[in-house]
């Protein structure tokens, strides 16, 4: 910075405008995740006579890849993202269709993955960011009042990927799409009554989906298990009960890192992925859980701040969309482990084990930095 003609002139070099708080918070969450993934997985891996650090090492590799993705996403001017957003969107729709073909692979009754060269990808993870970018691009082009037609068109951009994800089935990601759509519509100034109409149509569609049997039995069971876990403790409600027991038994200060019995003895399923928050709750207690939420709070605070200081509509929509994407995933994920949201397979951003999600979220943070850095152009 230099003083010229009595006025503070900003350094125009973008690299000087990184957001260190955002970077530190992001990496802190990912490292927190590494510890939790190790705690969640080492015991089971040992029992199978495998390297107890197997998942930890993989996640560390994903983290490094994620940092690369972050750097790339931060360095290319985000206006280019807007230009390529339609292409990315179309590409993602194509890949989501591929998942449903025999090329996709199935786990636990859900067809969510594509295997390529020995690596499994979960396109729905990337799709969240792609759809956010696409909607942001569209909304940033609108001028004047937000009409009902604009609302429908915006919704159209989200509905197609939503449907493709919904039939995998992946109710959790569908909910995240809905949250992103809602957040961006609010941001664009959609009228409350229009959003109301949209919600009504969504409800009718959802009801129709149930009636037509598009929704699988296990999904209904999971959703009803959320309402009454005691009804079938061995199946639908079992995960929920065990997650609650793990978190509740952690108490204020936790049972100590690597000392959680629920965690070590496999009572909570999917613990290094979707239910990773139960490890935090059991082993590090209320303090650990609140610290994790605090990190998310800081991350989102930075994201909203970036949206507020963004100089163009696309940057603003993109930042808000990413904030809502991370916030809604966090809420749905943590909420399900606490028994206040239905059990849906959705990872905790930056913390859960899983390459696709980690890289997507690092890319998202990269885009946030991008918007932040280029706010003076």
């Amino acid at each position: 910075m230099e003083l010229t003609a009595g006025r503070l002139v900003r350094d125009e070099r973008v690299i000087r405008h990184l957001d260190p708080v955002l970077i530190v918070t992001t990496i802190a969450l990912a490292v927190y995740g590494l510890f939790m993934v190790y705690s969640a997985s080492h015991q089971s891996l040992e029992a199978l006579n495998e390297d107890p650090g197997h998942f930890l090492k993989r996640q560390l590799a994903f983290l490094l890849l994620g940092l690369v993705a972050l750097l790339v996403a931060a360095s290319v001017d985000y206006k280019l993202v807007k230009v390529y957003a339609p292409l990315a969107w179309a590409g993602l729709i194509f890949v989501l269709l591929l998942v449903l073909t025999p090329l996709g692979s199935e786990t636990a009754g859900a067809q969510r993955w594509i295997t390529l060269g020995g690596f499994q990808f979960q396109p729905s993870e990337f799709a969240k960011l792609g759809v956010t970018a696409m909607i942001a691009a569209y909304l940033s082009e609108l001028r004047g009042e937000m009409s009902i037609e604009h609302v429908w068109r915006t919704t159209g951009l989200a509905v197609l990927p939503m449907l493709l994800v919904f039939v995998q089935p992946d109710v959790g990601t569908t909910m995240v799409f809905a949250a992103i759509l809602l957040g961006l519509l609010v941001m664009a100034g959609a009228k409350a009554k229009h959003i109301g109409v949209l919600a009504l149509v969504a409800l009718i569609a959802l009801f129709g989906a149930f009636r037509l049997g598009v929704v699988k039995d296990y999904q209904i069971a999971r959703l009803t298990g959320f309402i009454d876990p005691a009804e079938d403790p061995l199946r639908a409600g079992y995960n929920r009960q065990q997650a609650e027991i793990a978190i509740g038994s952690g108490g204020p200060f936790g049972r100590g890192y690597l000392d959680g019995t629920q965690t070590n003895l496999d009572f909570v399923p999917e613990q290094h992925t979707d239910f990773v928050f139960t490890v935090v709750g059991e082993e590090l207690g209320f303090m650990g859980a609140m610290f994790l939420l605090l990190l998310f709070g800081v991350l989102l605070w930075r994201a909203f701040r970036i949206a507020a200081v963004a100089t163009d509509p696309f940057g603003r929509f993109l930042a808000v969309g990413i904030a809502v994407m991370i916030a809604s995933q966090m809420f749905v994920n943590v909420g399900m482990t606490l028994g206040i949201m239905p059990i849906t397979g959705i990872p905790l951003p930056l913390v859960s084990y899983g390459g696709s999600a980690l890289i997507t979220n690092f890319t998202a943070v990269g885009l946030l930095l991008n918007v932040h850095m280029r706010r003076f152009k």
């Binding site: 100034g189 978190i247 019995t261 496999d266 809420f331 606490l338």
Partner: protein, 634 residues
């Protein structure tokens, strides 16, 4: 979109996100700060599995140490419902293999008595070949397995089943009863007899193994253990040999009775049931106790359905579960006369040296209703002493005593009943066997009350001279259990002490060290002077040598072994008479009191006396010619 508007909307969205954080934090506070204890406990329940370590039940031994009830390994078939595929097919095939209705198997599986993941025992004590069959076709029976479990072993089969009792699963009501604290659903509990009465000694203490398990139920670690303490052995005063000959003689007597034609009805005697008590009069210890019909104790080892159990109590099957020696009471007939004589002596209505008329009929002086009380014989036997009246069992002599007690009522109240009560009649003997009946010594209050309760069955509520007169020969509404009679004769035999009859001698550990000794328990003195006891026993000797039981004891070596006894033929409306006999041997210093009773077995001299004779012959190692039916003369 102006920047101002944008900033406002961002605030709205950020506010919504902040609200979500508030929701999560509140819920976390509730789960982790407020409800920690509850969830800690549930996490503990998840992780820790208590595996009960059963304690072997104590044995029941006879007085010489012979094992009457032991333990042995038994194979039980278990089903783990979480592993059963195609439950219907498996159940049907299992039902066929085990020969148990599929509905019963399903009922056991769905009983809810067992924890999830715990294999449910569906059938106990199956034959080994069933296991071979299962092992051969394992894949057809997923989730079906077998375990070896300890069950009761009966080396002498049916011997003394009523005395010993059996085991049965604890019921829903008991499990909530604080008396059964520590019992788990499905636990076996002693029923009837020694098994029930000495449950707390026999049971032992269950141990446990505390294991850490993971979600798949795999055991990872042992967290602690408590070793089971085996149950104590109970040693009985009963002698296996005496018990055997009591049971055999009773059964032979009952078979013989069925060949006798009842002179009243003209039909063969039904003789469906009976009992024998052999007691040591010197201490009230039970040496043998037989009840017929009996049952196979193995019945309770296998699968017992409710219906099967009900049949065991059914009157149509003669209630084989019933221990008739203590649980049933009957009119005692003339076996009661010694106690009436004792009461009459005590009250001054009779003297040893006096003579009393024994006419064929007796009427209450001044009674105009025409009620006549008959002697058992239509012959006029003339005047006789009290002793002779006992020997020939003259009813009319005793009617007189009964009437005199009736006259006493104005001044002395129910003195007859009070005197009889002191011989133990109408009250519990206090024996260590469950479900004892107190019998009944009727009085005016009882008669008034029962009339009020059942006016149809008891049409008259007033106490008449006839009530006392009937009671004086052991009839009317009087009811006595064979055990009560044995206790009363024991008092006569031992010089006047009323003992609480006991079947248990001591409790000891499996290694034989003493835990508890049961001493003879005196319940009181009977109301008779010592010299009169000698007179009574002498008179009752005459019954056997020259009186009503002389035909039953024809050829008995009286000079070697002196037997004193009394026959009884109890009339019951609508039934053939019950046959009774009570004896004391040797008469001058009795070591045994033996009471035999056969329901609808005719005269006491016909069936009960020969049963007792055979028992005495065997006890003394005499030659026995088997049951020899005596002449009906009482």
């Amino acid at each position: 979109m102006t920047d101002d508007k944008a900033a406002g909307r961002i605030k709205i969205i950020a506010g919504m996100v902040a609200f979500l954080f508030a929701v999560l934090s509140t819920r976390l506070w509730f789960l982790q700060v407020l409800a920690t204890e509850d969830y800690r406990a549930r996490a503990e329940t998840n992780r820790v599995r208590l595996v009960p370590q059963p304690a072997p039940r104590g044995r029941i031994l006879d007085r010489t140490g012979r094992v009457l009830v032991g333990n042995r390994g038994s194979i039980q078939i278990t089903v783990d419902p979480t592993k059963v595929e195609e439950p219907e097919r498996v159940l049907l095939e299992l039902s066929e293999l085990l020969n148990v209705p599929a509905a019963d198997l399903a009922a056991e599986i769905n009983s809810g008595k067992y924890l999830p993941f715990e294999p449910i025992p569906v059938v106990q004590d199956v034959e080994e070949k069933v296991v071979y069959e299962l092992a051969e076709h394992r894949s057809e029976f997923p989730g079906v397995s077998w375990e070896v479990d300890g069950v009761r072993d009966y080396p002498y089969d049916r011997l003394a089943v009523h005395l010993l009792g059996y085991l049965n699963e604890i019921n829903d009501k008991e499990i909530k009863d604080p008396a059964f604290r520590g019992y788990r659903p499905g636990a076996l509990v002693g029923r009837g007899g020694v098994e029930q009465r000495y449950e707390r000694y026999l049971r032992g203490e269950e141990g446990w193994l505390k294991l850490e398990v993971n979600a798949q139920g795999k055991v990872l670690d042992e967290l602690g253990r408590k070793t089971a303490r085996p149950g104590h052995d109970v040693v009985l005063s009963m002698d296996r040999g005496v018990q055997k000959l009591a049971e055999d003689s009773l059964e032979e007597g009952i078979q013989a009775a069925k060949t006798i034609v009842d002179d009243e009805s003209g039909y063969y005697l039904k003789a469906p049931a009976g009992s024998v008590v052999v007691m040591d009069p010197r201490n009230g210890r039970v040496l043998a106790m037989a009840s017929f019909p009996n049952y196979n104790p193995e019945f309770f080892l296998g699968h017992v359905t409710k219906r099967q159990l009900e049949r065991m109590y059914a009157p149509a099957q003669n209630q084989p579960l019933l221990n008739r020696a203590v649980q049933t009471s009957y009119p005692p007939g003339s076996t009661f006369k010694p106690f009436v004589a004792a009461a009459a002596l005590r009250a001054g209505h009779a003297q040893v040296g006096s003579f009393y008329p024994c006419p064929p009929e007796f009427t209450v002086p001044g009674d105009t209703s025409g009620t006549i009380f008959h002697n058992w014989t239509s012959a006029n036997l003339g005047y006789m002493t009290l002793g002779q009246a006992l020997v020939v069992s003259c009813d009319t002599v005793f009617y007189r005593f009964g009437l005199q007690f009736y006259y006493d009522r104005k001044k002395q109240g129910e003195s007859f009943q009070k005197l009889l009560g002191r011989w133990g009649f109408g009250q519990l003997t206090g024996t260590d066997l469950p479900f004892e009946t107190p019998g009944r010594v009727p009085d005016a209050d009882w008669k008034a009350q029962i009339h009020e309760e059942y006016p149809k069955l008891f049409p008259d509520g007033l106490w008449y001279p006839g009530d006392n007169i009937n009671m004086s020969i052991g009839q009317g509404d009087l009811l006595v259990s064979p055990m009560q009679l044995a206790v009363a004769y024991s008092a006569l035999a031992n010089g006047g002490t009323l003992y609480r009859p006991q079947v248990a001698l001591r409790v000891q550990r499996p290694d034989g060290t003493l835990v508890r000794q049961f001493r003879p328990q005196e319940a009181g003195r009977v109301p008779i002077k010592r010299p009169l006891i000698g007179f009574m026993r002498d008179s009752l000797r005459g019954v056997v040598t020259a009186g009503t039981a002389s035909s039953a004891f024809a050829g008995f070596p009286h000079s070697e072994i002196a037997v004193a006894g009394k026959t009884g033929t109890a009339e019951v409306a609508g039934k053939q008479p019950h046959s009774w006999f009570a004896a004391m041997v040797p008469a001058d210093n009795p070591r045994y009191v033996i009471v035999a009773m056969v329901e609808e077995g005719g005269h006491g001299s016909q069936v009960a006396a020969p049963i007792v004779r055979q028992i005495i012959e065997e006890l003394y190692g005499l030659d026995t010619a088997g049951i020899h039916i005596g002449v009906a003369q009482d």
